[in-house]
Amino acid sequence: MMVGALDRRGLSFLLGSLLLITLPHGWHIPWPLFGFFAVMLVWRFMAVRYPGWLPKRWQLFLLTLLGVALLLSQQRGVFGRDAGTGLIVVALGLKLLEIRGRRDVLLVVYLAFIVAASQFLYEQSILMAGYILLVCILLLATLIVQTAERVETRAALKTATAIVLQALPLALVLFVLFPRLEAPRWMWLADDNKALSGLSDTLEPGSISDLSLSDELVFRVRFEGDVPPPLLRYWRGAVYSRTDGVRWTVDSSRDTSARPPEFSGDAYRYTLLMEPQKQNWVFGLEMPESFGAGLRSIHGFQLRSDKRPADRAEYKIVSRPFYNTGPLSPADYRENLQLPLAASDRQLALIKALGGGNASPEQFIQNLLNHFRREAFFYTLAPPLMPENPIDTFLFETRSGFCSHYAAAFVYLLRIAKIPARVIGGYQGGEFNKVGGFLEVRQADAHAWAEAWLENKGWVRFDPTAAVAPERVERGVNVDLQIASGAVNFGPLTGDSAALNWFKRGRQLWQSVDYNWQRWVINYSGANQMQFLRTLGIDGISPLVKWLLGSLLAVTLPLAWWLLKKPAKTADKPLLVYRRFCGKLADAGVVIGQGEGAKDFAGRAQKQLPELAGRIEQISALFIRLRYQADAKAGDLQRLKNLVDAFSVKKRR
């Protein structure tokens, strides 16, 4: 008899929670698979109302074949995150049409827990975590509804919430103390088909202006001391030294480690939390002096990580704003003077006019910057197209461009003037989050600037954009306005406080919560754990085990005490003793029914075990007196105990 398990309300409840659990997968798994699941779910919903609509066995078989065909057509392989998720979702959909008994309901619920957990393979944000937690409460409630003899949704939800709340402290302890499984062991689950934006190793004419319209977070920085002023916030990325006149590329053949420069000035210590990236680049503040293991500084002082760029990662870096990179090797010298074409007459004339060849390189660079400043150059997000000879067109005709145009033209002219120079891509600026006390750098902060090599000084940063539009560097980008208008917009002139309205404050608060979630939960890796545990004085397996058991006890004991305390009040001692008596009779094959009272049961037992009739009568009468009658005496419970202890039956074979 399946009275409670398969009633309409219970099934509808189950199907409803399944819908909520699978819904977020609609964004990840291919739509034919999700559509297949949705059709199965709707079908089952209809069948709750019209049970005749359930498919027959052969129809189910055909549906299964269809599901397998869909899976094969949508997935390239059997392994991997997407294939696995698709398989589970399709299987769940098929199983729905096959619910016949309680066993199937339980199976579906357990499958749904797996589906819920698989959401975390795609998204680990705090919102998703909250959603999954709510969904787990729903699933638990379904389990409660299925197992309880009576179905009351609100009570089931309440119980499920209580269960989840009671489990949270345990989960917390295990999360903090239990040795972390390292990501690489299940990296095979992840597919790298997510489209991520960001800088690439080729600087195309429009690539940075594309990024300027994205408020996607690139990384966050928390400084241990002072935050550098906006003018110093240059986050170094790629070093573009090769050009064909239009594009600038990274010379990956020289991907070797660099000789560290000599540093001076105050050190900035900070923690960098990188969001998922396309490349394994880490954007250090110019110029990174020391950095933890897992990072290396390659040629051109760019930081690269050994980790998968698609994962969030945290790095501790120390940078100093002043540095001398020292002499240049002949190969580097040649490399940074490389030009695709001979210089045009106009370019040569301009260089001559600015004192190229006669004045010192410093003087020439100063003149060139002044040229940008004085002449009618414009800073714009949407410059006119320059398909032919872009440097010339920009310098002498259109004269309006974005940071990459200025940096490229600047470097180009320097190279013609025989000064080694290169374009640097990275980010400049960043918005300070007052709530969280960290700096947020977005794709819109992407920037390109120039570096020139000067005798005795090494590589020196020059930002031609600052000459044209000093606001860009001093005030940063106003991301919201820039995205809204599609044109260049800078941050407010005065301090932030005037413009910091409640909306912005709310967003900063949320960013701060998200930052801490990323930092302390998502990014809690094995290494971080070891470090954290060491601060607690746990430096080996045995203290860890002790801590683990100790904190588990510390969490479970109060919970258990709290839970057991309540029934203890109503705990019916005669009933407990009587249950022992029933257990003994059950050994003899006489089992008390759920709806059977002690008197009726005694009568039945006496009939079946006539040799024990007297004892059974005595015990039952005593129990009835203790439980139902007003005239129970003080010693009755003890007598009942003694009688039950002495009671023994021959076990039935």
Binding site: V3, D7, R9, E149, R150, V151, E152, D572, L575, Y578, R579, I592, G593, Q594, G595, E596, G597, A598, K599, D600, I624, R627, Y628, Q629, A630, D631
Partner: protein, 301 residues
């Protein structure tokens, strides 16, 4: 007094053959100060049962045959003009008796039915603004034909609830029927029955019923039953608080008849079909089947 009760039951058994449980339920109903509804086809002994009970308890007995044209005044009585005193005086109807057999109550129109049922509930009658109390004890045994028979007005749920119990008599067993065929006519037997429990002793017993002990554990069981009926999908609506009170009162009376000073779950189970059957499934006939899920699924211990 308990001895007299015992003799009374044994005597009733000898008159109405093979209906042990039903007789006990009827007496239990009387002890619990409730009214009884007997539902069955004509001729299975409904009248005989009520008649015998009235005699055994020594109650003033009146039978009211309900027909489709009976009026409330025919039951309760009416004001009649007295020409000598030049005023109206109230002439009591057949209702003013200690035991009423309301025969074939569902043949009457709802108007007449509700007049009777109001009197049952309030134990008084109001005519022309004047209230007249009914005698004590006041016990109504109503009989009703199964509603599938022609020319019946089924009692609505709200009025079924006024009856503490509904029992079915059913055909007698083969053995009982044989004895019936060879024995004396029942009405002659009934005429000669002695009175075992006169009205004042009945009142004392009724008082004693109220004093039967109810343990917290038993209350839990009764509450669990009520709760179950309210949440189980098998029943259109659960037991009302009045039904809960009725169930407990009947169980107390049952315990008393079993000569116990405390109610056991078995007492509740014994009266449950009669007390809850018509309330949970007003149209249904098999009360035992109606309450079977309760007996099976509600945990006693």
């Amino acid at each position: 007094m308990h001895e007299a009760l015992h003799q009374l039951l044994a005597c009733a058994d000898s008159v109405i053959l093979g209906k042990r449980t039903q007789i006990r339920l009827a007496v239990c109903c009387l002890l619990a100060k409730g009214h009884l509804l007997i539902e069955d086809i004509p001729g299975v002994g409904k009248t005989t049962l009520s008649h015998a009970l009235a005699h055994l308890f020594g109650l003033g007995y009146q039978r009211i045959q309900f027909t489709s044209d009976i009026l409330p005044a025919d039951i309760m009585g009416s004001a009649v003009f007295d020409s000598r005193q030049n005023s109206f005086s109230f002439r009591q109807g057949p209702l003013f008796n200690q035991m009423i057999l309301a025969d074939e109550i569902n043949r009457a129109t709802p108007k007449a039915q509700s007049a009777l049922l109001e009197a049952m509930e309030e134990r008084q009658v109001t005519v022309e603004g004047q209230t007249y109390p009914l005698p004590e004890p006041f016990f109504v045994i109503a009989t009703q034909n199964p509603s599938y028979q022609i020319g019946t007005f089924p009692l609505p749920e709200s009025q079924l609830d006024r009856f503490l119990m509904r029992i079915e008599l059913g055909y007698p067993s083969r053995q009982a029927e044989r004895e019936l065929l060879i024995g004396q006519p029942r009405h002659r037997l009934i005429k000669n029955l002695p009175v075992y429990l006169p009205a004042e002793q009945l009142a004392a017993l009724q008082h004693e019923v109220a004093g039967v002990h109810v343990a917290p554990a038993l209350l839990d069981y009764v509450l669990a039953i009520i709760d179950f009926t309210r949440h189980c999908d098998d029943y259109p609506c659960g037991l009302s608080p009045r039904a809960g009170l009725s169930l407990l009162a009947a169980a107390k009376a049952w315990a008393l008849m079993d000569q116990r000073g405390a109610v056991l779950p078995e007492d509740v189970q014994a009266v449950l079909p009669a007390v809850a059957g018509h309330r949970l499934s007003p149209g249904g006939r098999d009360s035992g089947a109606t309450v079977a899920p309760i007996l099976r699924q509600v945990a006693v211990l």
